[in-house]
């Protein structure tokens, strides 16, 4: 149904939003520099206005989709009248133009909430933070309006129906993955703005760190969930059972996550010890820069990827310009105004400070490694040195050892004290964990798996090295109190957040180690009546049938599965679908999830003689991957759910807060 005005309203709303963002960007910053309260006062209302009008624009685009207005080019290219309504909703962000609009909406939203929850901040800081956010918003909205306008019309030749949403994207995973991811990417703009504000205003103290932490942790948590969702989605949607391919687009999301993790920890040190200020500022700039870089890589066409949006060099140029200005200016500001005199906090090798620094550096090395691997083909090509590929073998070879090192220092860092730790204390806290980790890590595969794998043993040792000290600490705290309950209740949310976050890392490591080494995959030909045995499960094909879905035709296999000698069986029904509008074939995997193992069946080809080629997979512990991610995200949020952040101390708070009270040790 063609609508008369809705897309135009959306378009105009975008223009207004951009103008407001521009005012939000320029006036408050100028006002802070020249001490003009009136100009600074524009920040908050403009932030609200920007959100309002971008939201209106977004609503208009969504309305166009829901109303099947195929006169709008974007709707015609990505939707279809037969598309279920919930996919029409998500199709809005399943394409380049809509997704950048979503980016802009989330950017405006974060900015608005930053303005809402900043009553206690000094006025010039608020002005600078919102000013920076306004400038970024202006850039993005300009990008949308100039190169990626979702409201373009196809008049007068309105197509009768749309081209349909890519079947791969017609899925719950797609509905959730991009918004979560963007919340993460965009969320880091807040701490980025805080960093620039601190540099411009010349004010960087523990209070600043305390203000910045909740925003950082929240963004990080969203990004963690977004990445986990993406991995999970690829796993069950793409039909090959893989969960990470080191694809450029995947790497683009991992890069800000790695530096974001470093940033989270660095902020903690800056808050508690007043140290690592420049480092924290730099990480804040890097993390958001990597978000922008990721946007560039994914949408410019410089790198080949299955996930990449249809590309256009002019868009690439615009984003690169945005990237160049934003990152270039920030790094210049950093170089010129980074704190010159650090409050020289002392620490020794065996201190929490040093160990956190080591892990920060490790995370940065991991970031540079992944970045290097991702852009290296481009580098060589630009230098005329030929075309090479850098894929999973390279990344795995480097990333895995680095992760193990990370785990090593995590275990140490968890029990170390700030400033310095006597070796005897470290040993007393860790010897049991070390012994336990090695013994359990080596023994568990022997006990529970068919064959022993050194890789799994190492992974388990690393994970246990992280987990056992956590358990020991909980045990100590419970033991030293009047009762277990009392002891545990005394622990702050921040403490729980830290432990959960680190536990999440350990869980993920276990998942990766086990599923990478103990997975079993078999390609088999099956006709009704045939059976195949994989990992102790018997898969029997009962029948092949056909069915018609909302917008597809499917061939379906009915398979019953039995475990070992058990008489109980359950059904798995994979399908091979043909989506009618696009004529695209798609494999709908049959998945039997479990805490300790997944069973996975995908249909391949009709072999013509009444049988089909099927891929049957046994994937042990694969859910632990994403469970770990969820734990990490949850932990990250808990770490700043502490009352002291909700109360948001004022600027008058002395720096003495930065150092912990003597005698009380390492809490989060």
């Amino acid at each position: 149904m063609q609508t008369l005005m809705i897309p135009e309203i959306g378009h105009y709303a975008l223009v207004i939003a951009m103008l407001m963002a521009a005012v939000q960007g320029v006036l408050p910053l100028a006002g802070a520099a020249t001490r003009r309260p009136l100009w600074m006062a524009y920040a908050r209302p403009m932030a609200a206005g920007q959100l309002l009008f971008v939201a209106i624009a977004y609503a208009c685009l969504t309305a166009s989709y829901m109303l099947d207005d195929f006169s709008v080019t974007n709707v015609a290219n990505n939707s279809n009248s037969m598309l279920p309504w919930y996919y029409k909703l998500s199709a809005v962000w399943g394409n380049h133009e809509g997704s950048v609009l979503l980016w802009s909406l989330l950017l405006a939203a974060w900015g608005y909430f930053a303005s809402r929850f900043s009553r206690e901040l000094p006025r010039d800081m608020v002005a600078r933070v919102l000013g920076v956010l306004g400038l970024v918003g202006t850039g993005f909205l300009a990008f949308v309006l100039v190169t990626s306008n979702p409201f373009e019309r196809l008049l007068p030749n309105v197509p009768g129906d749309g081209a349909d949403l890519n079947p791969l994207l017609q899925d719950i995973g797609l509905i959730m993955h991009p918004p979560m991811l963007y919340m993460g990417y965009v969320g880091f703009s807040v701490v980025f703005a805080f960093a620039i504000a601190a540099l411009l205003g010349g004010r960087l103290d523990a209070a600043w760190a305390r203000w910045a932490r909740p925003w950082t942790n929240l963004a990080w948590a969203f990004l963690t969930v977004g990445i986990a969702l993406g991995s999970w989605w690829a796993y069950y949607e793409l039909g090959w059972g893989g969960w990470w391919f080191w694809d450029p687009v995947e790497n683009a999301s991992l890069l800000p996550w790695l530096t974001g993790t470093a940033l989270m920890h660095s902020l903690a040190v800056t808050e508690k010890r007043g140290a690592f200020k420049s480092w924290t500022l730099l990480l804040a700039i890097f993390t958001f820069s990597l978000s922008l870089l990721g946007t560039f890589l994914v949408r410019s066409g410089v790198l080949t990827s299955v996930h990449a949006f249809a590309n256009d060099p002019s868009r690439g140029q615009f984003i690169l310009m945005l990237l160049g200005i934003t990152v270039g200016l920030s790094l210049l500001v950093f170089a010129l105004r980074a704190p010159r005199v650090g409050h020289k906090v002392g620490f020794t090798w065996l201190s929490r400070d040093a160990l956190l620094l080591i892990n920060n550096i490790l995370l940065v090395i991991m970031t540079i490694t992944v970045l290097m691997g991702t852009v290296y083909p481009l580098l060589l090509d630009a230098l005329g040195l030929g075309k090479i590929s850098v894929g999973p073998p390279y990344f795995n070879a480097l990333f895995v050892p680095l992760t193990l090192l990370l785990a090593l220092f995590m275990g140490l860092g968890q029990v170390a004290r700030w400033k310095q730790t006597p070796v005897s204390l470290l040993v007393s806290r860790l010897w049991l964990a070390a012994v336990g980790a090695v013994i359990l890590g080596a023994a568990l595969p022997l006990l529970f798996a068919e064959r022993w794998s050194p890789a799994v043993a190492i992974g388990l040792i690393a994970a246990l090295w992280i987990v056992l000290p956590i358990l020991r600490d909980l045990f100590e705290k419970a033991r030293n109190a009047s009762s277990v309950g009392a002891g545990l209740k005394k622990l702050s949310l921040a403490y729980w957040g830290m432990q959960l976050g680190h536990l999440g890392v350990a869980v993920t490591i276990v998942g990766v180690a086990v599923v990478s080494n103990y997975s079993i995959e078999q390609n088999v030909r099956m006709a009704p009546g045939d059976s195949v045995e994989v990992a102790g499960y018997t898969f029997t094909m009962n029948e092949l049938s056909s069915r018609q879905g909302a917008n597809f035709l499917a061939d379906r296999a009915n398979i019953s599965v039995q475990h070992g000698d058990s008489s109980r069986s359950f059904a798995m029904n994979p399908e091979k679908r043909l989506y009618l509008a696009t004529r695209m074939p798609m494999s709908q995997v049959a998945l039997r999830p479990g805490f300790l193992r997944d069973l996975y069946v995908a249909m391949g080809e009709d072999l013509g003689d009444g049988s089909w080629a099927l891929r049957v997979q046994y994937k042990p512990f694969v859910r632990w991957l994403w469970l770990g991610g969820l734990l990490m995200a949850f932990g990250g949020v808990l770490a700043v759910a502490d009352k002291r952040y909700r109360r948001l101390a004022t600027a008058r708070d002395p720096e003495a807060r930065a150092a912990p009270a003597p005698g009380r040790e390492a809490s989060a």
């Binding site: 890097f286 066409g301 410089v302 080949t304 060099p313 690169l320 170089a335 852009v375 481009l378």
Partner: protein, 177 residues
């Protein structure tokens, strides 16, 4: 002073990266040079398309004359579109064209030539992807310029447009004659 320099490092690193990214925008990740550039045309022993009893091998391309080897198939729409250019090259510019009939049946291939024209001196019949695989062909059409000694000198991936004829093919032919 030292510290300032160190602080400028991230900016310097970023600028370097940005330069490469900018260059990357004008590159085409799909466009790859053939792995066989400046190497000898691979050995083969296959029948021809029109005369099944006649077999040809590498000697076909080492006659001292420059040859354009074109990989095509009846199933390939771009091959139909570039036929006028190939006919042009063969007839107007007097270039020797040898075709590789790829992944086709004889009937289909012959039908294609009847319908769209036959600029080829001879067609190597390669239904089982023997020769094409050795050439690293992964899609049709692809064209190789082979000099008189059987060395591959130029490789064109994909459709040959009229512009390509004048801009790249003819100059390369001139260069290697």
């Amino acid at each position: 002073m030292n510290r300032r320099l160190i602080l400028l490092l991230p900016l310097a690193g970023f600028l370097a990266l940005a330069v490469f990214l900018y260059q990357g925008l004008s590159l085409n990740p799909f466009h790859r040079e053939s792995a066989l550039m400046a190497r000898e045309f691979p050995a083969f022993d296959l029948a021809t398309l029109k005369e099944p009893e006649r077999r040809v091998d590498r000697d076909l391309l080492t006659t001292g004359e420059l040859t354009l080897v074109n990989v095509w198939g009846e199933w390939c729409p771009e091959c139909k579109r570039e036929m006028p250019q190939l006919l042009d090259l063969a007839e107007r510019h007097d270039i020797r064209l040898v075709g590789i009939s790829w992944k086709d049946t004889r009937e289909k291939a012959l039908g294609f030539l009847e319908e769209f024209g036959d600029p080829f001196e001879v067609n190597i019949f390669d239904p089982d992807n023997e020769l094409a695989f050795e050439l690293g062909v992964y899609g049709a059409p692809e064209t190789f310029l082979v000099d008189g000694d059987g060395v591959i000198r130029y490789h064109h991936t994909g459709y040959i447009a009229p512009g390509d004829v004048t801009e790249t093919i003819l100059p390369e032919v001139e260069q290697w004659r």
